[in-house]
Structures are given as structure tokens and as C-alpha cells.
Amino acid sequence: MTALRDAFLSALVALGLFAPLVGLVTTSGEHGLLLELRPIATAVVVGLVFLGRLIVLSRRGRTRTASAPSNRALAEKVSKAGKYVTPLLLVAAVALPFTGSRYYIDLGTLVLTYIMLGWGLNIVVGLAGLLDLGYVAFYAVGAYSFALLATNFGLGFWTCLPLAGILAAFAGVMLGFPVLRLRGDYLAIVTLAFGEIIRVVLINWVSLTNGPNGITGIPRPTLFGLAFSMDGGPGTIADFFNVEPAVIQRIVFLYYVILGLALLTNWVSLRLRRMPLGRAWEALREDEVACRSLGINVRNTKLTAFGIGAMFGGFAGAFFATRQAFISPESFTFIESATVLAIVVLGGLGSQLGVALAAIVMVGGLETLRDFLSFLGDQMNSPLFSGIASELPLYRMLIFGLALVVMMVLRPRGLVSGRTPSVALHKVRDIAPGLVARGRG
């Protein structure tokens, strides 16, 4: 009975929230804007809230008592399974192109790009504990460095890749210097501002970046000097291996390039974690004052974290540019930074496997959702749904936002929330999530 009352109250609140914005729609009329009534849509939304609240309440009544131990058991299971999941994922990643489906390879490439970005940002946020909301800036620096070097000086992808990384790392250190003294949320807002500054400059410096129109004709990567060209002339892959030129060859090649880059990121960060530098990062995350007292050079530690994290962002950006062959400032908005940060946090801050899983869930899920919604829209050809069918693809980001909230509420510490110490005296043992100190961010 209380559940019913509670659900009724929720529906009442929902009515207050949605009656003005869903029930009354501003449409353009002949003399300016007009209001249009949509009572059915409002009723549907309010009804959904009512039902949703009822379901949540009935589930909560059953599981509340058992939730804490089961959560811990789940966490242990996840970290145990991690031993098998990692090689499994790796094999799956290597084997994916053999499916031959262009759709899956493209999706895999996208997911791997985000995994790489996630691992790069993980160095800054997960290991060094510096909250960075402007990571997309380094992605943009990498992409534009490659695009500009390639289109202006005719350099190839493999020459530009290290240059893009170096330039992005330079940008990272440049951002790092002024924010050395800031912590927590001040750092967050400055990095966010930095990301916006880069984007505004990219839009407005038309003579260099071609402004909002972006840069076109970015060259594709080559395999030891062999181009993936469709005409199959001398010096192309098709000519060298004596096969028919096909688009799929280039797509598979790009897939393996990003797989290699992502694995490089993973390998480097795993190695760095064991070096004094990596240990200093993790110490810095836990307690900056203690670090200073123990003689760790906080300035260099922070700058290297920014620099190395940014470098991997720059690599990913160069890859993005060569894959798309076209970049514009629109690809480097705050929403990208937010997605990557969400991947890192949902992955459980510091866990390499967690970041990969989170990227698969979020980016894969987002793309699956896109297909599902357009499929659903095609199915609804009855006039009853005429208003909603064409709008369905727009619901994608709405669902994404809600999913972020729900995932955080359900698993605030991320998917893989325990921590494995980088250094241990005898035997490496996982630290339960409850024992991990609250990160200062």
C-alpha cells in the first residue's frame, strides 16, 4: 500500500515535471510560435514513471537485505573472472576481422578507439588522480597535428604519428603547468575550459584549420609504403599481393592499427605502474601531502602524468583523423571528454580491464541502441506511432544520459571496483572496494 502511495506521488511529481515540457510543445506558426497540446504523450510518460517506481519499490523490498554481501561476492567473482576474461577478450579482438563483416569491424574500431582513449585518460585520472574534463583537447591536438602535417607537408601517417603524440604531450605539459597548484574541482573546471579554448580556436582560426568546415583529404595509412588504393596500380597492396583491391582490406588494416595502438597504451601504462614514476602517480592519487613529505617531486609527477596521458590521446586523435579522412571541430566537443571520463570512472578508476569492459558496454551499447532505434522506427509504420517513429533516433542520447545516471547509482565504484596493488611484499592480493580510500579526484 505504501508502495502504491509512493508511486502515486512520483507520478504526481512527474506530472508537474512533464506536463509543461512534454504536454505543451512550441511549434512555429505563421505569426511566431504556437503552443500545441500533447495530452497522450504526457499520460504515457507519467504512466511510465508510475510503473517504473512501482517496479523499483517492489524489487527493493526483496533485495535490500541481501544486497551488501551479494555485491561483494559479485566483485570477487568479477576480479577472479578477470584472469580468464582478459585473454578471452584479446583473442576475440584479434579474431574479430575474420568474421568479415564490415559492420562489426567498424564497430570494433570505434570501440578500440575509445578503449585507447580510456586507457590514456586512465593514466591521468585513474593513476595520478588528476580530474581532467578536457581530455578531448589532446585528441583534437593529435588529430589536427596529423591532418595539418599531412595536408601541408605531404607527410605520411607513420611519420606523423609520433609527431602528433609529441605535440599532444607538449599540449598536455602546457596545460599541466598552470594547474599544478590546483586540485579537485578547480582542476576539473580549468581542464574543461582548456578543452573549450582549443575547440574555439579550431573553429575560429580559419586560415590554419579551415574553421568549421574542417580538413578534408587526409591521407590513409600505408603498410610499409604500400597504399590501400582502389585503382590497384603499382605500389599498392592489391598490386603487391596480387589480389583484387577491396575496401575491406583497408578497414581490416585500420582495425589492426588501432588494436596495436591500444595494446601499446595498455602495455606502456602497465609497465609504468611498476616503475618509480607509476608508483609516484598512485601515491599522489592517495595523498598529495604525504607525497611531498616523502620527497616526491610533485611537479614532475603531475606533468609526466598529463604529458603521457595526452600523448596517447594524441595518438588516438591521429588515428581518428586518418580513419575518417576528414576532421572538423564538431568531433571534439565536451561530450567526448565526458564519454571518455565516464568510461574511466565506470571501469573503476585504475583498472585496465574495467576500462576496456566499460568502453565495450558504453560505446558498443550506444551503437547497438542506434541500430535498434532506427530498426524500431522502421517497424512502426502504423499511423498510431506516426509522431514518434521519425524521432526515435533522437532518443539515443537521452537514453545514454539516463543510463549514465543509473549505472552510477547502481555501481558508484565502477565495474571492476577492487584494486590490485602494483607492488606487494609476498603475494599480490586484491583490495576490496570497501577498503579503497576515497579518491580525491
Binding site: V13, G16, L17, P20, L21, V22, L24, V25, T26, T27, S28, G32, L33, L34, L35, L131, P178, V179, R181, L182, D185, Y186, A188, I189, V190, L192, A193, F194, E196, I197, V200, I203, N204, V289, A290, F334, I335, A338, L341, A342, V345, L346, E391, L394, Y395, M397, L398, F400, G401, L402, L404, V405, M408, V409, P412, R413, R438, G439, R440, G441
Partner: protein, 304 residues
């Protein structure tokens, strides 16, 4: 001189709007120490609510401008307050006391949700309205350049001052304000002394959202055109204002808002319109380097 005076008027008007939004950021940050990323989008929702209310009142045949404006303001503030309350309840309260980045991600999710919700429900097109309070007065004329002060700008300054006056009274003189200040100083101690902290935090969100809705209402009246994306940039600027003024400090938020408004307007007038955001953020970075606690903020003392 005349040109500069005109820019000063425009800058103060814009700064008032930023200040109103910044108060919401700084209050929430002061009490629970999180960046309420969805706050800028509550501002956007507030301006949409105002638009709908204005159109609805026009359809109902209420033609008296002051009455229509007052009703719109109350309606937008009330519904936006409900939004603020719901957001806190759904997205932040379950994460209270949890690990620090979780509420931030949840807030970013809420911001994405609100933006896309308005885009889906109200359409992605910009919504223009006609000027409701047209006209103004000419203050001075210098070499053919007329300095104008529109009625709208006067209205914005008057409304903002009134609202901020009520708000200051609320915070400094009422029991509610006392509990809010207590929670800001020490949340745990306040709860030990019998203050219902959950209720206080909820009310903070409600008040912040209502102020943001007032800002949204003024934004709609001043610029006459809104879309679902205005919340992000305005939110970032307002947060910048809050940080500039010293986060956690209420007068600081208004001061920061005024400064950001003035910087933006003067930069646009004398240098380049395209880089006005760069100027605002650049000043933020500069201030934080030399004055990490902002203009009126207290230095954060950490006990080890």
C-alpha cells in the same frame, strides 16, 4: 567614452544573468562539494518553461504585460524548482557519501539527459520570440553614438537585485538560511546537532534551480531566442564565475558573474567576438594561477 559606457551597461546586464546561475553552483558546491553539472541545463529548462508560460498566457488572453511576466516568473521558478528537487533526489542523493567522482558522472549524465529531453520534446530548432518590453531611454549622445539603456536592461537589473535581495535575506536572516550555512561549514556536525541535512540539501537545490529559472527567464526576455543547447555554455561560464569569485561564497558568485559578463562584453567590443569565450576562460586560468581560491574565497586549510 560613450561606446565604453554602452558596453558597461550591456556587460552588467549579462553579468547579472551569469551571477544568478553562479549562485546555484556555489551554494551546491559549498554544501556538498560537488559540481552540479546539470545546473546549466536547469537554466535552459527554466527559459523553456518561461517561453511556454508566456505563450500559454497569451493563448489564455492575458494581455497585461506586468501580470503575464510575474505569472511566468513564478511558474518557471516553481517548475524548475521541482526539476532541481527531482534531480537531487534521483541522481545525487543515492550517491551521497559515495566515492567522489560518482556524483560528477551522474551529474554529467543528468545534463545530457536534460538537454536531449528538451531536444526531443520541444524540437531542436531555435525558438524566437518578439521583444516583450520594447524601447528604452537614451542616456547620452556623443559624436553620433547614442548610448541606450533599454527598459529590458533596467528590468533585468531590477529583477535580479530584488531576487538577490530576497535570497540574501533568506540566507542571513531565516532559520532555513542558518541551517544552510551550518551545513556549508560542517555537514557532519550539523547533522549531529539535529539539522535535517537531507532536507537542507534538497532545499538548496530547489532554491538554486529557482534562481537558475529566473536567469533563464531573463535570458529569454533579453536575447529573445533560445534553444536546447544554451545551458552548456551558460553553465560553464557561470561555473567559471563562481570559481572566479571564490567558490562557496555567495557575494563572490555575483561578483564573479559581473566580472565574466564585463570581460566577455568588453572583449567582444574591443578585440574579437569569436574569441570572447577564450578571453573568459583565459582570465579564469590566470586568476586561478595567482589566486587559487578566487577573489572572495577562503583558503582551504587541510588538516593532516
Amino acid at each position: 567614452m560613450a561606446y565604453a559606457l554602452q558596453q558597461l551597461i550591456n556587460g552588467v546586464t549579462l553579468g547579472m544573468i551569469y551571477g544568478l546561475i553562479a549562485v546555484g553552483y556555489t551554494m551546491v558546491y559549498g554544501i556538498i562539494g560537488m559540481i552540479n553539472f546539470a545546473h546549466g541545463d536547469v537554466f535552459m529548462v527554466g527559459s523553456f518553461l518561461s517561453l511556454i508560460a508566456l505563450l500559454g498566457l497569451a493563448a489564455l488572453g492575458i494581455t497585461s504585460v506586468p501580470l503575464a511576466l510575474a505569472l511566468t516568473l513564478i511558474f518557471a521558478a516553481a517548475i524548475a524548482a521541482l526539476y532541481g528537487w527531482t534531480i537531487e533526489r534521483v541522481a545525487y542523493r543515492p550517491l551521497r557519501g559515495s566515492f567522489r567522482l560518482a556524483p560528477l558522472i551522474s551529474a554529467i549524465g543528468m545534463s545530457i539527459t536534460l538537454q536531449n529531453f528538451v531536444q526531443v520534446s520541444q524540437g531542436a530548432r531555435v525558438k524566437p520570440i518578439e521583444a516583450i518590453i520594447p524601447g528604452g531611454i537614451q542616456i547620452m549622445d556623443q559624436g553620433g553614438f547614442a548610448v541606450r539603456l533599454s527598459w529590458m536592461q533596467i528590468a533585468i537589473v531590477v529583477i535580479t537585485m530584488t531576487i538577490l535581495g530576497i535570497f540574501t535575506w533568506l540566507v542571513t536572516k531565516t532559520p532555513l538560511g542558518r541551517t544552510m550555512r551550518a551545513c556549508e561549514q560542517d555537514l557532519k556536525m550539523a547533522s549531529l546537532l539535529g539539522i535535517d541535512t537531507d532536507r537542507t540539501i534538497s532545499l538548496t537545490f530547489v532554491i538554486g534551480a529557482a534562481l537558475a529559472a529566473v536567469a533563464g527567464f531573463l535570458f529569454l526576455l533579453y536575447y529573445g531566442v533560445i534553444d536546447f543547447y544554451i545551458g552548456f555554455i551558460a553553465g560553464v561560464k557561470a561555473f567559471t564565475a563562481a570559481v572566479l569569485g571564490g567558490i562557496g561564497s555567495l557575494p563572490g558568485a555575483v561578483l564573479g558573474g559581473l566580472l565574466i559578463g564585463l570581460i566577455e562584453v568588453f572583449w567582444s567590443a574591443y578585440f574579437s567576438v569569436e574569441y570572447k569565450d577564450v578571453a573568459a576562460f583565459g582570465i579564469l586560468i590566470a586568476v586561478l594561477i595567482f589566486m587559487p581560491t578566487g577573489i572572495l574565497g577562503r583558503a582551504e586549510v587541510e588538516k593532516v
